[in-house]
């Protein structure tokens, strides 16, 4: 069975859902992509992923603290590199 690969924004939203809930995870993922790329099409190229994750850091640090933010972003990076 062939399945389409999720886009980076979808992967970010999926990984954030357990903490932020589905609606806010989607908003946060789209917003970090927009801020990182300046585009509003919700896409990320591999080269833009690191910058997009950096945009998430202040929000996650406020809600989860610095130490846990590092863990979440590390997991996200791993998923984005090898989805």
């Amino acid at each position: 069975m062939s399945t389409a690969l999720a886009s980076p924004v979808e992967i970010i939203a999926t990984d954030l859902t357990p903490y932020l809930g589905p609606n806010m995870a989607r908003v946060a993922a789209r917003m970090c992509a927009e801020r990182a790329t300046g585009r509003s099409d919700g896409t990320l190229t591999p080269g833009e992923v690191e910058r997009a994750l950096g945009m998430l850091r202040p929000m996650l640090r406020t809600l989860l603290g610095r130490a846990r933010t590092d863990v979440v972003l590390l997991q996200l990076t791993q998923h984005l590199v090898r989805p």
């Binding site: 999926t14 859902t17 903490y19 929000m59």
Partner: protein, 284 residues
Amino acid sequence: MNQPLDPQRGAVAKGPAALLSAALAVTLVLSILEWTATGFGRTKVTSSVAVLVYLLAALGAWAGAAGFEPGDHLRRAWGLLSLANVALAAGRLLFPEQLLGLPDTSMVAWLRALATLLSNVLGVWGTALFALTWWRTGLPLPGSRRGKIAVGVLLTVLALAVPAPHLVESIRGALGGDPYAGAMAVGDASDAAVFLLIAPVFLTARALWGGSLSWPFGFLAASCACWLLLDASEFLGDIPGAPPWLAPAITAFLRTLACLLLAIAGLSHRMAIRSSASPVVRQA
């Protein structure tokens, strides 16, 4: 498939519900203890339960703070709420001729006033940090502008209307030279400030709905709402025909519930943070 399977996710969703059930059960047991106590023992039981629940709230908030690193925004917020509840417990212990059997001297009155003042300042400061959390994330609050304004206006009117009569009474007492009345005036003003902060905390919980971080904000907003209802319940005594036991009974229940909701808010935040430390397992 890019479907994450987090083994902790189910536990995180069940955890806050279990905490809420436990808090409600303990509230009921402690309230029944207070309701059924009679005579002189009633004052002792009420004071003991109050000190116990303030300390439980302090412990729960401390657990929330301990989940963060030094310098984190919400570590400070939880720490302040924990200290506020320690001060509340100290203030309750300083009631003359109750738990500690202290004499009714001006020294005791000043110490009690200081504890009340501290608890209020720390409580407002901590709650304000929670209210500012969403603004710090930089994310937009979901929902229509009209809906958010309606929630804000409703809670603001309640926040200002409920403590106002007490505040006027306390200011009159303070002007008469009673130090405890002065502290109570600060307390009533602090109540109004905390009630004003319910709206942003509630809207934060609603924005995060479906996620584990929604629970601590939801429980905290519910705790503040219980304090609001507790203040409002004191008017029950003024209603003609209302039984004399009704207002104290509701007050006892709401005070215990408010404290235990704060305790589980801290614990649920700790749980939400811990769940983020577990690796997310993905299927190939």
